[in-house]
């Protein structure tokens, strides 16, 4: 029925703060083959096949694990462990031609058997809902040692795309006994040590098949507080601070002789959700009123120091069908008031139950004030994220309004599922997405564009902004991924310049 790709709602703070750091302190005291990367949310385990959370693929995908295909900085699908692939005319069959010089870090060669094993493993072992992305697979078979054939139940563009995410990670048949602590992959790095609550150290995989990474070790250091991160950066304890949580703090890093600011795009749409199944948001006019009532420029300026992209639907610049500003609503409080009056919703009390994440708490305060100006009374209720927010808002949809960053790439399907917490039920939208999934890539783009326009006109939600992928780095670092396009934060191309 629906597009079956069910990506995780990995909206955590994980993506939101990344820090790279040299060891020791002071910009000049780093070693040229080591990098320390600080993040906010740490992985609960090192196994993303049984544990949810964006932090695990962020640390491991593209570094420790690789897939048959991967996503590049422009959001295009590129060869990975498969040097090429063929898609049959009907879109139901994929033949992957594997590289034959690939070894796992346990010493075993990567073969078609491992690829088949990994694809099947998703369907048998994975406990998470994202495993449903592999439900479209009818069979995965070995043609010869270097060739794998995957047959789908129906043609699907999304399936190939999902192979670039964590469900497409390739495992060794002999290396899955202790994935929670000791992951075994083919990537440029392997896990050297893991000190829970503090850091995860990756070291260069000496037997890597691809280009030799410039760095010998990458230490992912997990912080709890963005203030401490900023201070650590300033104090010279760390060399790079990525995806800054509070962009207004960027003014601290004005010193061009020490820092560079990297401002790329992400796939994290910050969505102001409105419960479509509840009063007053059952009424399309009220939802539209909310969109007109919010001054998005002011919101971006006050909560993100103007960093980020204003969007008007569930899309990001790395999507091939990105329509830019055309889906946005202009700021028009008078029109908002009129719509509210027509709908008889003036003075309605609204419960905004948000995750207690800094960006959501900031945005909520601005939304609250702007909606107050047009006569909606919003009460903000921060819930612990992930646990309480997930159970109250995401699972039970017990909310009127909420704010969360939907960080998954290509997650348009979330509005096609009437049970998703938006409770948006529009069969036309769902059909358009389904058509897009099955058609040729060109047809798909046109269908997506139409679907996203419909979503915007219907005001299924309001899109506050697209998160920037904001990093501060030591000025002599090169090769950091500028755009956040996939699930992993990759270090294979990172190097120190001139030192």
């Amino acid at each position: 029925m629906l597009p079956r790709r069910i990506p995780a709602l990995t909206l955590s703070a994980a993506l939101v703060t990344v820090t790279l750091a040299g060891c020791g302190s002071g910009a000049d005291r780093h070693s040229t083959d080591a990098l320390t990367v600080g993040l906010v949310a740490e992985p609960a385990t090192l196994d993303f096949s049984t544990t949810d959370g964006a932090a695990i693929p962020q640390a491991l995908l593209g570094n420790v694990y690789e897939g048959l295909v991967r996503i590049d900085q422009q959001g295009r699908i590129q060869p990975g462990l498969a040097k090429s692939y063929d898609r049959s005319a009907d879109g139901r069959t994929y033949i992957f031609h594997l590289r034959n010089n690939v070894k796992f870090t346990n010493g075993k060669a990567f073969t078609a058997d491992d690829a088949v094993f990994s694809i099947n493993r998703v369907r048998t072992v994975w406990k998470l809902k994202i495993a449903q992305q592999m439900d479209d697979v009818r069979s995965a078979t070995k043609v010869d040692a270097d060739t794998v054939k995957v047959t789908l139940k129906r043609p699907s563009n999304n399936w190939l795309y999902s192979m670039t995410t964590r469900v497409g990670a390739m495992y060794s048949r002999d290396g899955v006994s202790d994935l929670k602590e000791h992951p075994v992959g083919t990537g440029p790095f392997e896990v050297a040590s893991w000190q829970r609550g503090d850091n995860l150290v990756l070291k260069r995989n000496t037997g890597y098949w691809g280009a030799r990474p410039a760095l010998d070790t990458v230490t992912l250091k997990y912080f709890k507080d963005s203030g401490a991160l900023n201070n650590a950066m300033l104090a010279g304890d760390i060399n790079v601070l990525g995806a800054v949580q509070a962009p207004e703090t960027l003014s601290m890093f004005k010193d061009k002789s020490r820092f560079q600011v990297i401002d790329g795009s992400s796939t994290a749409e910050v969505v102001l959700s409105m419960n479509n199944s509840r009063k007053p948001f059952q009424d399309k006019r009220v939802r539209q009123a909310v969109r007109y009532a919010i001054d998005h420029e002011a919101l971006l300026k006050t909560t993100r120091a103007g960093r980020g992209t204003l969007i008007g639907s569930q899309e990001s610049p790395s999507d091939p069908w990105y329509a830019g500003a055309s889906n946005r609503y202009p700021y028009d409080p008078a029109k908002a008031k009129r719509l509210l009056k027509e709908a008889g919703a003036e003075g309605t009390s609204i419960r905004m139950r948000i995750p207690n994440l800094p960006y959501a708490v900031s945005a909520a305060q601005v939304v609250q004030d702007q909606l107050a100006q047009v006569g909606l009374k919003v009460r903000i209720e921060p819930l612990e994220f992930p646990a309480r927010w997930l159970s109250e808002v995401f699972d039970k949809a017990d909310y009127d309004m909420s704010i969360i960053a939907q960080v998954e790439p290509r997650d348009q399907w979330i509005f096609a599922d009437p049970h998703y917490y938006f409770r948006y039920d529009n069969p036309t939208y769902a059909q358009l997405l389904q058509k897009a999934d099955a058609g040729s890539p060109q047809e798909a783009a046109a269908d997506y564009r139409q679907a996203l326009k419909l979503l915007s006109q219907d005001a299924a939600a309001d899109w506050l902004y697209l998160m920037p992928n904001l990093m501060v780095a030591d000025k002599s670092l090169r090769g950091l991924p500028v755009n956040q396009v996939g699930e992993g934060l990759e270090f294979a191309g990172v190097r120190w310049s001139g030192k």
Binding site: I6, A8, L9, S25, A44, T45, T51, D52, G53, K127, L128, K129, I130, A131, K180, R196, G197, D198, K221, F223, K224, D225, A228, N231, A232, L234, A235, G236, D237, N356, E384, F385, P386, A387, R388, L390, S391, E392, F394, D395
Partner: protein, 313 residues
């Protein structure tokens, strides 16, 4: 001796009651543990299976008995969220917090003993009033605020010390100390200010006693008399306060760990709350409460050792 036995028995009863209170209290926490553990992507079947696995589908009392029995063996259970044993995690974190608290106490003592002696020696003088005033201000500044100010001054402005984080002592002792200096001072300042006032007033009341008058009559200088004869005698009330302060420091550490991003018990507790990691929160709270109870007991016993008049009772 009798007293020691009675107090210890009380302690044991308190520990049992406390553990039950904590358990019952948190058992009503909203959010199914299995659901939470599996996250967004859980299927209902998986949730049901995991609930059985966790045993959270059993009656409350059975769950408590099970948990309490584990505690007796130092087994705090396995986290619903991270699927790892909680006991070792708490032990690791406890060590960090213990260093933090011990250092904070030391700073408080180093601050309070001289300041208290001086304040007593300068009693009824302008300088004495100034010291008292300063200690009043010190008491009024919450530890986390002191922490923020210290970070601003020494980490952000001067760049002399790290703003946060932690290095284990076994890895690099110097780095360990560098990371803990500011937290120690933030904790120590406030408690030191409180302690100063106790030292001062204890000394003042000692001063009125005969042996002090005798010493002074023999020509011993005032502050020397205070240090030699006054301090040992002032120890009794000060020790009592120290016991209470250690409990305060333990709790104050929760906030200070947050300011300085130190992976101690407080950080673990807040993380547990954030993640709805029920067993973890239970475990940390019980450890903290038991620590407070034990500290109270030790203080009480020490008090008796120091004060011979109470020993015979």
């Amino acid at each position: 001796m009798n007293h020691v036995v009675r107090r210890t028995a009380t302690l044991l009863v308190s520990v049992v009651v406390a553990s039950f209170v904590v358990f019952a209290f948190l058992a009503v926490l909203p959010g199914n543990a299995a659901e939470v553990a599996l996250g967004t992507n859980a299927t209902p079947a998986a949730v049901a299976r995991l609930s059985r696995e966790f045993g959270t589908d059993r009656p409350l009392l059975v769950q408590y008995a099970d948990w309490a029995q584990g505690l007796l063996h130092g087994d705090f259970g396995t986290s619903y969220v991270t699927h790892e044993a909680i006991g070792p995690r708490i032990a690791d974190r406890f060590a960090v917090t213990a260093w933090l608290v011990a250092g904070g106490m030391l700073v408080a003592l180093l601050l309070a003993l001289p300041a208290g002696v001086l304040a007593a020696a300068w009693h009824r003088t302008g300088r004495g009033a100034l010291l008292s005033g300063l200690s009043q201000v010190g008491i009024a500044v919450p530890a986390f605020l002191a922490g923020i100010l210290l970070v601003y001054t020494f980490a952000v402005r001067a760049g002399a010390l790290p703003a946060g984080g932690y290095t284990p002592l076994t890895e690099d002792a110097q780095d360990w100390a560098r990371h803990l200096v500011l937290p120690w001072v933030s904790l120590g300042l406030v408690q030191g200010a409180v302690l100063t006032r106790y030292v001062r007033s204890a000394l003042l009341s000692v001063q009125r006693q005969d042996f002090m008058r005798t010493a002074r009559a023999k020509g011993v200088r005032r502050w020397a008399a205070l240090c030699r004869h006054g301090l040992p005698n002032a120890a009794i009330p000060v020790v009592t306060v120290l016991g209470l302060q250690l409990s305060n420091l333990l709790v104050g550490a929760i906030v200070v760990e947050h300011v300085f991003v130190i992976p101690g018990l407080g950080d673990l507790l807040l993380r547990g709350v954030q993640d709805r990691d029920l067993l973890l929160v239970q475990g940390v709270v019980v450890v903290l409460v038991v620590a407070v109870l034990v500290l109270n007991l030790v203080t009480d016993l020490l008090y008796r050792v120091l004060d011979p008049r109470l020993r015979s009772r």
